[in-house]
Amino acid sequence: MTAKALILAGYGLNCEEETLHAFEYAGLSGEIRHINDLIENPKELDEVQIVAIPGGFSYGDDTGSGNAFAQKMKLALWGPLQKFVARDTLTIGICNGCQVVANLGLVPAFDAKYGQRLVAVTHNLTARYQCRWIDLKVSSNSPWLEGVENMHIPVAHGEGRFMMNEDTLKSLQSNGQIAAQYAKPDGNLADGEFPYNPNGTTNDIAGITDESGKVLALMPHPERGMFNWQRDDYMEMKDKAQREGKELPEAADGISIFQNAARYFEVAKKKSA
């Protein structure tokens, strides 16, 4: 049996279809589940290995991005969710999902204390939505990011700026919970410089994890950069490949996140066997 991902939907989340496609392309099974259906049948969380909260605009970002959706989940699903992350499972929040995961306190969850809000993901410093391709420097022990050092994938958000107090930042750093940071194309950190750091986020942070690394909250969109044809430089890559008489491979940086999830459960399965 392959591991199964549940991709949440409803109330303005909107990236569930392409996120499901990414999991399936990586060899996992998955299903889109409306949040109201999950609230009606929370036992489903006991039967799946992965929960993904995809990108979107839940509740229109009103009262703070991801806030209202997190409030709804916390009220109706908190017990089952806690049980879920305590098992050997993987959780990912992408973009709006990242904001929800942060509001739920599934990250940073120091000492595995899930539920406390310590990180805010708030208005871009430009106070404007930014849809652009960025480069990430990745350094993390998260199973989601195994073997990943760099990624060229897009961001698309109006509220992607991580904010927190000094203590939280220090703990994130010392625990290795900063999963991804915005970088310049040359590989050096963006150091706050727009547009490489597209939102003015603290320490160029683009994504963080819980201490186990199994919960990943990531603002950029790996599912929009999983194939080369999705890339901003696809036309140039395609032309180059044609001139060199080569076939352009289909997979691009973003897919590795989903493949890592598949690999994680493959390995787990082998171990238990």
Binding site: G55, D62, A127, Y129, Q130, Q230, D232, M235
Partner: protein
């Protein structure tokens, strides 16, 4: 007891910082704190659970405002205006135990510290709010402290009807022409204009001879017979064209093309539905629809544009059994945002026209909010500038949909309400929003109350409804027909659907309302947004309503479709409308139109040859119609759904592109190519040239990007002015004749269209003198095509040093109404004439070159001709070019800036040279004009040499800081 909750954001908040920056740009230094305010009368609002749900403890605090500020400015909504933040807060209030919807309201408070005067704060307030929909309160720190803070305002709608919500009756018998027109112009009991011409009023009078007519009957006729809904100008006999422009030219073009194409016909649903549909592949159709939302956007640019984009999304959801929105388009025709012209709607100069900058920012933000929040990519668009768009901007919005060709064994594009089907309305509730939206004029707007004049879309309410329909309910085949509620509200949607069954009976008291006190006619024609109407077999209604409820969407049975030929409405068991369907839909008398036409233009100017060609090119690149609009593309989510293949910013140099490619089905290799063309200024000389150039560019952009002509369809949007004048109608007729001929020539069918015929501003200038500013007659042609494999797509950026540069197509002495002439204050006479025969030949050859992958990059020449095209290519590729113009037999400035149509600038890899030239060997106008170099310079022999960096700066600087 009302509760007011104040949530103070961190001093580092991006919204506050941006305001500080904006103030700084005006020479004012201030620190701004942002406070999100929520008010409610509900008892649960005063609970910690609710308050906590509104505050992020990491960056926000509640109930503790700082005291070191000098000014407080609060902006909230007027009663009845859509308050999306308030809606979400209301949802949170429900989580905290409240039972009803919409108990919460939002506002925003700015606490400003700095040496600013009251007038500075007033100016800031004006830039942040619109008095038509919002209230603004300013207090100095002293006032704030003396009052103990800001007021707690609950902007609830209260309607004082004195318990009278029945329908009124009117006697038309014996009224004179003047009296009839008074009713038409001022409305029943001066409720707002009906906008019916005298011949229509007289037809109603004689139909109701000896009978009384109710207010709801007359309002229904005004909606149904409005220009907006009936398109009377396109339908009426005009000169000797008895069947009208639409049938005779536009519809006929498509019909003839489909007959000739036979088995290769790509059209499936044309003109009959909310959008047009063509074949995508064996499994799916793609649909397209482009709408305009001009008048509302002039008054409330944000509200007008967001309502426009979510409205056209519903046209997509309402296509056939329901199509999934997969791409959005946008287009704005605006006045120069760097200018501050002064115009007023009234002679007393109290009601000023919004500044071009305010309108530009507002309409851009509106499409941003609507498109982004709906999760629909918006890669495709344009902005065109002309100062005559000052009073009435043109705001185009479009949506492309995807729908299975077969749903449960039935064609996905077919639908028909059947007698006995229940009428079900799903989505938002009905308020006084947008009453008379289909009939309003500028007069009405001064008199109308804010809550009714303008609407603001609510993308999340719509998203919930859209997902429920497209992703779940549609595939259960629970309804026989579906359509959206747009202009005219239920009167339109139900009236149109009932043409399928042959009648309807609506029980108006069943319609869910936002607030009590609305009269029947208001409920019936309200344009409250985010609603779809369905025809549902009685056995399915319970299941359908329950499914919607599970997704947080209200759906209600409001009546029954019948076959008795009557349009019937009851309210609390009383019959308030009972009209023959025939009269409702076909009772409006024909109004034959007459036209005249005079060609415009001036003598060709006798210009000296420029002595500094480099300077001219930099100036041309900086012109608003040519320069980069990157700041729009980066705030529009153009890669949601994971389907973006190409555009809107192309090449390493990020040039704002004219065409985009999307892969709407991730498992199919096919791509959808979108583009458009329009040349409003050409109308000053000849609308035929304007129409031809626009259609040609829409086609050529798509062809250049890789579409075969046989896979291309078109949409027409006419935005005309003064369409009651024979001369304007003559210009219209000429444009329509032209696009008929060209579409048939290119074999590119029209699949959908829309018109907006009175884009005139009537008002007063800064001296109080009466002025009329008419938008130039504008035809937007949008193109949509399918490419078999996205690996055949072609971008505009050159790919490699050493590649050869070719110009395909003839450059003629055609600079009339061009950007080059306009820059020098001339109109000229030689407007580009389109040779569709020669163009067709070129496009067919080009299609072969695409199939053989011989084109490395391509750009279809438009505004600013070859000169700006060369520069854009150099910028896009961040590569130099060596160019020699001697193959073009014109003076160099004319060669560079002529806007002759039918031309494509391409680059070709040297190894493909032979094959490429062989492919085009029968093309007379094949010109090898240079090659791509490693020098980082654009070098045009004998004329200019410019660093690519300099070109880049000239191209990107003008609008960079917006």
């Amino acid at each position: 007891m009302a509760t007011r909750i104040e949530v103070l954001a961190s001093p580092e908040d991006g919204r506050g910082k941006t305001l500080e920056k904006a103030l700084k740009s005006k020479g004012k230094t201030a620190a701004v704190r942002v406070v999100d305010v929520y008010t409610s009368e509900h008892e649960k609002a005063n609970t910690p659970a609710f308050k906590d749900s509104l505050v992020n403890p990491v960056t926000q605090e509640s109930d503790s405002l700082p005291d070191d500020f000098d000014w407080a400015l609060e902006i909230g909504f007027l009663p009845g205006v859509t308050d999306n933040v308030g809606h979400t807060a209301s949802e949170l209030l429900k989580l905290a135990g409240a039972e009803n919807d919409n108990e919460c309201f939002s506002s925003r408070l700015y606490l400003i510290k700095g040496n600013l005067k009251q007038s500075d704060i007033e100016e800031l307030s004006q830039s942040l709010s619109n008095t038509l929909i919002q209230r603004a309160t300013i207090k100095s720190a002293d006032e704030f402290n003396a009052d103990g803070g800001m007021e707690t305002i609950i902007p609830k709608v209260t309607i004082n009807t004195a318990g009278n919500t029945a329908a009124d009756t009117i006697e038309l018998d014996g009224l004179s022409d003047e009296e009839l027109m008074e009713i038409s112009q001022k409305g029943i009991k001066e409720r707002g204009p009906l906008g019916l011409p005298l011949v229509y009023m007289k037809a109603i009078q004689s139909h109701y001879a000896g009978k009384t007519i109710t207010d709801i009957e007359l309002e229904t006729l005004a909606q149904t017979w409005s220009e907006h809904c009936k398109h009377t100008i396109f339908a009426s006999p005009i000169d000797d064209v008895k069947d009208g422009l639409y049938k005779h030219y536009i519809k006929r073009a498509t019909k003839e093309i489909r007959e000739i194409r036979g088995e290769n016909d790509i059209c499936v649903s044309v003109f009959s539905d909310n959008a047009g549909g063509i074949i995508f592949d064996d499994e799916y159709l793609i649909t397209d629809k482009v709408e305009t939302h001009n008048s509302p956007s002039a008054l409330d640019p944000f509200g007008g544009a967001i309502t426009g984009i979510v409205g056209v999304n519903r046209d997509c959801i309402g296509f056939g059994q329901g199509a999934k929105p997969v791409i959005n388009r946008y287009g704005f025709c605006l006045a120069d945002p760097r200018t501050s012209p002064e115009y007023y709607r009234d002679s007393a100069k109290t009601n000023a026209v919004l500044s071009p900058e305010t309108i530009m920012k507002g309409v851009i933000d509106g499409v941003e909010a609507g498109g982004n929040q709906s999760g629909i990519p918006t890669p495709q668009g344009f902005v065109t500038f002309d100062d005559r768009f000052v009073g009435k901007p043109l705001v185009f919005v479009g949506t492309i949909g995807l729908i299975p060709r077969t749903i449960n064994g039935k064609p996905g594009h077919e639908k028909c309400a059947r007698p006995g089907d229940k009428i079900v309305v799903a989505g938002g509730r009905v308020g006084r929003d947008g009453i008379h939206g289909a009939t309003f004029s500028s007069v009405a707007l001064d008199e109308g109350s804010p809550a009714t004049a303008v609407q603001i879309g609510d993308p999340i309410t719509q998203k919930k409804m859209s997902d429920a329909i497209i992703k779940e309910i549609r595939d259960l085949s629970l309804y026989s027909a579906i359509t959206d509620n747009g202009a005219g509200g239920m009167s339109s949607s139900i009236g149109e659907m009932a043409e399928g069954s042959g009648g309807f009976h609506v029980e108006l008291e069943t319609v869910p309302l936002k607030y009590p006190g609305m009269t029947p006619w208001e409920i019936w024609i309200s344009e409250s947004q985010e609603r779809m109407t369905m025809a549902v077999p009685p056995k399915n209604t319970d299941e359908l309503i329950a499914l919607f409820a599970k997704r947080g969407v209200e759906a209600t049975v409001v009546g029954t479709f019948t076959d008795d030929g009557r349009a019937k409405i009851t309210h609390a068991d009383e019959i308030i409308m009972d009209m023959a369907m025939d009269f409702l839909h076909d009772g409006n008398p024909e109004t034959p139109l007459k036209t005249t036409f005079t060609r415009g233009g001036e003598a060709e100017p006798d210009l000296a040859e420029p002595d500094d060609y480099a300077r001219v090119l930099l100036d041309m690149l900086g012109r608003l119609n040519i320069c980069s609009k990157e700041f729009i593309s980066t705030q529009y989510d153009h890669n949601v759904q994971g389907t973006a293949v190409m555009g809107p910013l192309q090449g390493p140099g990020r040039v704002y592109a004219e065409a985009s490619i999307t892969r709407p089905v991730l498992t199919s290799e096919k791509g959808v190519v979108l583009s458009q063309g329009l040349f409003p200024r050409y109308s000053d000389i000849d609308t035929a040239a304007m129409a031809a150039a626009g259609l040609d560019l829409a086609v050529r952009n798509a062809v250049a990007a890789g579409v075969d002509l046989g896979q291309l369809a078109l949409l027409d949007n006419f935005c005309w002015c003064s369409s009651d004048e024979p001369e304007r109608l003559g210009q219209l007729k000429r444009a329509v004749e032209t696009i008929y001929e060209m579409a048939v020539k290119y074999q590119t069918p029209f699949i959908s269209g829309k018109d907006s015929m009175f884009n005139d501003f009537k008002g007063f200038d800064k001296d109080g003198k009466s002025v009329k500013i008419s938008a130039p007659p504008t035809l937007l042609i949008s193109s949509i095509g399918v490419i078999p494999n996205i690996d055949k797509s072609i971008s505009l950026a050159p790919k490699a040093v050493g590649d050869l540069v070719y110009l395909l197509g003839q450059t003629k002495d055609e600079l009339g109404a061009s950007e080059y002439y306009d820059m020098q204050g001339h109109l000229g006479n030689n407007v580009p004439e389109t040779d569709s025969h020669a163009n067709l030949h070129l496009y067919k050859l080009y299609g072969r070159a695409v199939r053989d992958s011989l084109i490395a990059s391509a750009y279809a020449l438009g505004f600013g001709g070859l000169g700006t095209a060369l520069a854009k290519k150099a910028i896009a590729g961040q590569m130099g070019m060596d160019i020699d113009l001697s193959a073009i037999n014109l003076r160099a400035d004319k060669a560079l800036y002529s806007e002759s149509t039918g031309r494509i600038l391409v680059t070709v890899a040297p190894q493909d040279k032979e094959k490429f030239e062989k492919c085009f060997k029968n093309l007379e106008a094949l010109q090898h004009i240079g090659h791509i170099t490693h020098t980082d310079k654009l070098n045009i022999k004998n004329q200019l040499q410019l660093d690519v960096k300099k070109l880049d700066e000239a191209y990107k600087a003008p609008l960079r800081d917006y």
